[in-house]
Subunit: 443 residues, 2 copies
Amino acid sequence: GGVSGHSVFKHKLVVALVGLPARGKTYIATKLAYYLNWIMVPTRVFNLGEYRRRKLGPESPAQFFHPDNFEGVRQRKVLARQAIEDVLQYLRNDGGVAIFDATNSTRERRMWLQRILNKAGVRVVFVESVCDDDQQIRNNIMDVKVRLPDYGALSVDAAVADFEERIKYYRMRYEPLSSEQDADCSFIKLVDVGRSVLLHRVQGYLQMRIARFLMSLHIKPRHIYITRHGESEFNTVGKIGGDSSLSPRGMEYAQRLKQFMDEQELPNLRVWCSSLKRTIQTAQNFDDVESWKALDELDAGLCDELTYKEVEEQFPDVYRDRATDKYWTRYPRGESYADVVQRLEPRILDLEQAQENVLVVCHQAVARCLLSYFQQKSDLASQLPYIKVDLHTVFKITPIPYGNLIEVFPLGIDAVSTYVPRIPTALLDSPAISTGGRGDDGG
Amino acid sequence: GGVSGHSVFKHKLVVALVGLPARGKTYIATKLAYYLNWIMVPTRVFNLGEYRRRKLGPESPAQFFHPDNFEGVRQRKVLARQAIEDVLQYLRNDGGVAIFDATNSTRERRMWLQRILNKAGVRVVFVESVCDDDQQIRNNIMDVKVRLPDYGALSVDAAVADFEERIKYYRMRYEPLSSEQDADCSFIKLVDVGRSVLLHRVQGYLQMRIARFLMSLHIKPRHIYITRHGESEFNTVGKIGGDSSLSPRGMEYAQRLKQFMDEQELPNLRVWCSSLKRTIQTAQNFDDVESWKALDELDAGLCDELTYKEVEEQFPDVYRDRATDKYWTRYPRGESYADVVQRLEPRILDLEQAQENVLVVCHQAVARCLLSYFQQKSDLASQLPYIKVDLHTVFKITPIPYGNLIEVFPLGIDAVSTYVPRIPTALLDSPAISTGGRGDDGG
Ligand SMILES: Nc1ncnc2c1ncn2[C@@H]1O[C@H](COP(=O)(O)OP(=O)(O)OP(=O)(O)O)[C@@H](O)[C@H]1O
Ligand SMILES: Nc1ncnc2c1ncn2[C@@H]1O[C@H](COP(=O)(O)OP(=O)(O)OP(=O)(O)O)[C@@H](O)[C@H]1O
Ligand SMILES: [Mg+2]
Ligand SMILES: [Mg+2]
């Protein structure tokens, strides 16, 4: 009998976006892709607009999208066929989920898609974004459309006009998904940026997780702040894990942090900490702090309360495995970074969904996992465990179109460095190597 | 600053069911109430039918529900008013969520409800169940309606006919919830037993968790099997926690378990285990086992690998706290039962949602948490940590109307007992008390 934590994801899936232009399809595709990659479901976006620009050159005026433009229709069908071939190729290799980011606005196109994919043994779930709020659509066009390569040197006004014409042409043939007419399809319909959500025949673990994620999204402006606890007594002696109190400098940070947050002048703020003393003390100047055990530091198991030097001496295998594959290596009786990501997932849904501003006071490894989600980096497993998260520093996250702005605020209070650099693999044969990192909380 | 893990639930909420008779409203209300209580949100169901039977006597023929029966309409309004008064009383005390289980089938009734509740500072989310599958409705009537006290000694056929007439009368005035006409309401509409789900203005953490739970429900027949790992080496020497292998008798159980499950002749089966050796070995005769770290045994922290006697000697405070409040007491650097319930919650959603049969191979404390969810006991915090879950025993759970049938199969292979009985508080002053329990895995 084979044991695996991931067999639940063995089914290959295509998520096909549906919707008029400027309805947030690419926004949704991008967020979903990073989310799925973050929970280690290999996912890639196939954007039909990029196929068009690659094949037909950067500029496409609205006329290209007119339903009676026979040549335009033919060319777009050829491009779709090409994209779907690439989708299937990706899934035949080690891809898990392919996100097909196109308008897919007619029932005929969707049935064609479903037929080809089902024949290849792949399931499809459609994700439609509907929005009839004109102001929202105009904002979207200004935010992300007028700067498209499609418009080369066109003026903003001309670009807006052209884009609105493009929408008009798509609308002529647009057939929204419906529980009656598409009774046999699996689909998720997002109406007016999450005001309502319709789930239809959403089946199985993976589709359900996708639905839960999508229904948590919103685009109201807000900020998320992430910081580690203030310097702890263990930090100062280079021990990992434990449940020590703050050092005097750590206490100073707790005060400085409150002051910094006050200066942000936020209309509302939720504050989260972990169950460990050092984050509770760091958050102690705030009201109504929520303590989440899921935010506790990566559990170093039998290595808890050791220094890195002691880990190297007493658990040389663990030390070596972490040097070569830090993300997947589980401390004996403890956790790996992969484990931490899994237990943090409900916190990420909660952060996505929160309408308030949130300050998360956590730990080095936890901050790395959270930041990696918002940074939307690729090659996560190899990068995540080495993200630099200094003590006494606030990371301010602001959602922007297709991503997040991350600003770093060192609050100017000295602290030890707990960063352990990647060990060059060539050096791993030498028994004398020690990184000298000081108490990075098991991270 | 106050720290708490529960301030997220500070908002009082009424969940008001909506739907024709025999649409599963009471079924949904019951499941939701047990789920919320299980995650420690104090919740109570207020069933209008019970108010009617208490006040007007057990028998109510269909004519009572005719919309032109003036006296019937008046009486039902009085009953609703009374129920809502009790709802508000409950929420003013320490209630968190009140579930109002009634048909609430007209817009007028719902607006009345919303007005009263909002005036009292309480939010409402409506949960509507729609089902037009005649066969399903007839099954529901046969399953749970013909035996209602309403029908006294009536024959089954007469009872069915009367109940169908009652539905007809409700249908005359029924106004389903709609995104357009009820644009400002928060509601969750379940169509055809979860085939589609519409979420409208579902806001905030608690409403979102309720939505996630409801969208996971289905009523296809299947079974869930729960067992602990086979007897481990630590079990035989009375140590808690650890990551030991199975004893020879434990190995025998692994084989017997496979045989037992084969004899169940299930068309499909998912098998879950934890990340610890003893569950992996117990599940080793099955194919495609999924290993979930969230199923690991309650973490005994600094008490890991001790015997109960040693815990009592080395951590007398922990020992005493667990004796008086086992559910909430967290082992130093480890977990409480409350912590385990929180990390198991995604597994419960997955079990609810799974269409396949599932065998969960886990640990004593984890099995207690899972079983307590399916047993739907009240007074959870005081009962849960003492549920008897013997080694080498399979618990077979079968969903039945409003609850679960739990069958217990001891598979006849000897094992040590790991049960630690409740310590009478009177004895706690005596330093000589020891329960002599043997290695109950931290539970
Ligand atoms: N559900 C939504 N409904 C409407 N707008 C949204 C939604 N989600 C995100 N947005 C906004 O949409 C903008 C991004 O539009 P995006 O490029 O994703 O549209 P698109 O549907 O991919 O358009 P196109 O068909 O031209 O590729 C962002 O400004 C984002 O804030
Ligand atoms: N979403 C659903 N749609 C239809 N039937 C369901 C649903 N969920 C559960 N059921 C089935 O409904 C039956 C229970 O009906 P229940 O008593 O809950 O109906 P009710 O709506 O409360 O009726 P009444 O208005 O007479 O109180 C069970 O047999 C259960 O399997
Ligand atoms: Mg796009
Ligand atoms: Mg009922």
